[in-house]
Amino acid sequence: MAPARTELLHGTLDLLVLKALDLAPNHGLGIARRIEQVTQGTFHPQPGSLFPALHRLEEQGWLDSEWGESENRRKAKYYRLTRAGRRRLEKEVASWRQIAHAMNLALGTS
């Protein structure tokens, strides 16, 4: 059974997007698929929030975009991490780990 879809924590979508682009550039739908896949279906980003997030991250200089061809030979807009984006990802990951660790401690998870 697929696990229940969980609401994204406020602010985590940006981190997930950055992480999803860590390995290779991808287009919007691909990013959504990838997030769904790596979180084993827990998160399912809605286009209504994913696309604004992509544009916002691009405007902040963390993503770059160019038009390319998708796996089924269609035109698609590909996003990739910039160097600033990569640094941002490292920072975000570190701070997330810290929070997660602290939350685990606080909640007494084994």
Partner: protein, 897 residues
Amino acid sequence: MPLLARLRSLVTNLLASRRVEADLDDELRAALDQLTEEKMAAGLNPAAAQREARLELGGVEQVKEEVRAARAGAWIATWGQDVRYGVRALARSPGFAAVVILVLGLGIGANTAIFGLVNSLLYKPLPGVHDPEGLIWLRSSWSYPDFLELRARGEVFSGVAALGGTSRFALGTAGSIELVSGEFVTAGAFAVMGADIALGRGFVPEDDVAAAAPVTVLSDTLWRRRFGADPGVIGRTIRVNGAALRVAGVAARGFLGPEVGLPRELWVPMALHARLAATSDDRPVGDALADRSSIWLNVIARLREGVTLPEAQAATYAIAGQIADAHGDRDRARRLEAATLLPVIGGLDPRDRLEAVWVAAFLMVLVGLVLLVACANVAGLLLARALTRVKEMGIRRALGATRPRLVRQLLTEGLVLALLGGGAGLVLAGWTNELLVALVRRTPIAPPDLGLDRRVLGFTLAVSLLTAVVAGLAPAVQVSRIDPMAALRNQGGLGTRSRLRRALVVTQVGLSLLFLIGAGLFARSLLRVGSVDPGFVVENGLTATIDPGTLRYPLEHGLALERRLLATIEALPGVERASAVRYPPFSFASAQGQVYPGTDLASEDGAVSAGLNLVGPGYFATMGIPVARGRELVAEDDGSAPRVVVVNEALARRLFPGGDAIGRHVRVGRDAPPAAIVGVVAEAASGTAAPPQARAVIDLTHERDRPFVYRPLYQSYQGSLTLVVRARPGARDVAAAVSGAIRAVDPDLGVTEVKTLAEHVDLALLPARLCAALLAGFGLLALGLAAIGLWGLMSASVKRRTHEIGVRVALGATRADVLRLVVGDGVRVVAIGVGLGLGLALLTTRFLAGLLYGVSPVDPTTFVVVSTLFLGVALVATAVPALQATRVDPMVALRAE
């Protein structure tokens, strides 16, 4: 760098918005296509796949809106869009836009015009004066020796100067004498006042000593008028009051002294006072500069940098105290009062300022009401227009526009309209101001400077923005509440909006009525003022002002000249009688003093404050002022005869309530010699005490009932006096004959233009008439706006109820029934509004009591007439749509559904 990246995106978003939009469009279309393909690959047929894909994406347009909102500078970009959209929408209905801009233009224009007037009166610095901050008056109670001590010790000031007040100077030589207004000032006065000297120099300390070579400074106006703007005038010798003065300088253009409305055209050093001042009994001459009890100077000072007003005030009080100590402590209270610092704000005398502020506040409230009516009117129009756009709004909502976005869109449209209205208002205000200045130019009052400045423009902008919110918010919120589905199905849900429109019209009716009642009360009051019998006969009356004092004749010579003048003029063929007076009626100049009954010099009992005047023999007969008891003043009442006076009935009543005043003695001034009352005359308007700016309207009305005492001209020599001439009915060219006679008697005598008494009265009534015209204009404007609002409401209502009316007619309703239905509807709205307006008026008009003359604040005539007028106009505004309603063809109406 993220910041740079953001800036770049901001620029791209704003400047290349089309490309950015196309890009977004492509991106989402690609995503949709890809999703569709995936669904088809999973086995769905194309149509189902496409529907599934759309559902999953959640609406391309909505996603686009979200992305746009997330963009850098989204706010600016969408706002720009709103503005463009608003302008386009308005361009599509130019009629509507024109009406709204006109209505707002009238409302804002009225406010701008009045604010411009208030601004120029209260805040505009004196013309030709720079750095008005730090300028301070110490008014009219300084003797020259006291002033010298203040100047010597006034370390808190960077400069102190004494000004002698305006006096008349005879400029030129025999045959070309011109009387000009000028002032004695101490050295450095121009620097203290902040006035520049355009040519030559101002007065230096070396000019301001009794033995100095006499010099003068001319105003720019005098320099142009009399000397043809010749720069070579510097160093030339001119004749002033018979003395030769060298022209030292010409003041910068615009500077006419420190008092608005009282221009000076000539300045002379204070030290020349004894050699130059016009002679007369009531003005200190000769040793005036040495006499510590001779109090006649205004002092103007400039705060030293870094000194605060309270510090300066404390220091000045201390100096005044020391002066009092050093001179036997006499007049300590008077000296302290004279040491009160009055900061100069704008060009108005600080003592008149408070009163002017009240008048200004009153005017602003009035025009504010007009603007409120205009706002309510425009709100109604916007709402009516919004109803025709229900579908458009519904579609925009369905396409993803959020409610705040729609409200903003509608407010932006309102803003575009309000700013255009503000522009129209500026144009209208410009016309009004031109008209006003043109009217004032026909009078001796200096026209106010009504040019636009930053304050007026800022005010207009602020009022326009406020208007946009006040008029636009309610309709915008109402419209944004539209349910998109209902709107698309063609159901507006009209109930609440119609209620709001009704409320707006009720507001307009109420406020307009309130305004009309206020204006009506004022107009009635002003009409009373205008029809007030001045107490003298206006027809065939002429006046000419002369100043033998400027010739500096000895007293005997001067008196002889006056007798000769009157005799010569009375002998002219067209002249019935002639006399002379110190302060002619409505001349904005007068004297005021205490009149003490009895001969006992020590007694101060029963003193009455009265206006003082000096009149020649036969003055009352010449003016047509009835002598109630006793006799008129005659030529024999001169220096060799016993001292006598004539009082008016108001003063006689106050001084001797019980008995006859004739034969009783009074003293004009506590220490003055007693004089016998020989006559009691009827009340008549005399010299007006008010300065020509703010008080004229109000003071005029109280002028007649003031106690007055008239002293004989020949018992006290007067330098300046006005000849009054009663021409024979039908006589022609009397004015020229009078001027000629004056020149013939003494060619050295300057004379002002000969004027008719009617001109004097017209001038005095001008402010009242202007005010009445202004109020009537605004009142009609408010009435017109309310009528338009009512008419619009009724037309819309008839249109909406066409179907209902059709049904009624089909079921047998007669035309009269339909008429009654619609008119009844309108009458209800008007009745509520009128009730509201009357209630407000009853509550508020009492605050006008102080400004009204001879009219009660709840004057029934005004209330009834205005309400009737209002109901009449309202009935017409309702009747037109009602008549339309009676022409509804039931078949057409029913088929329309």
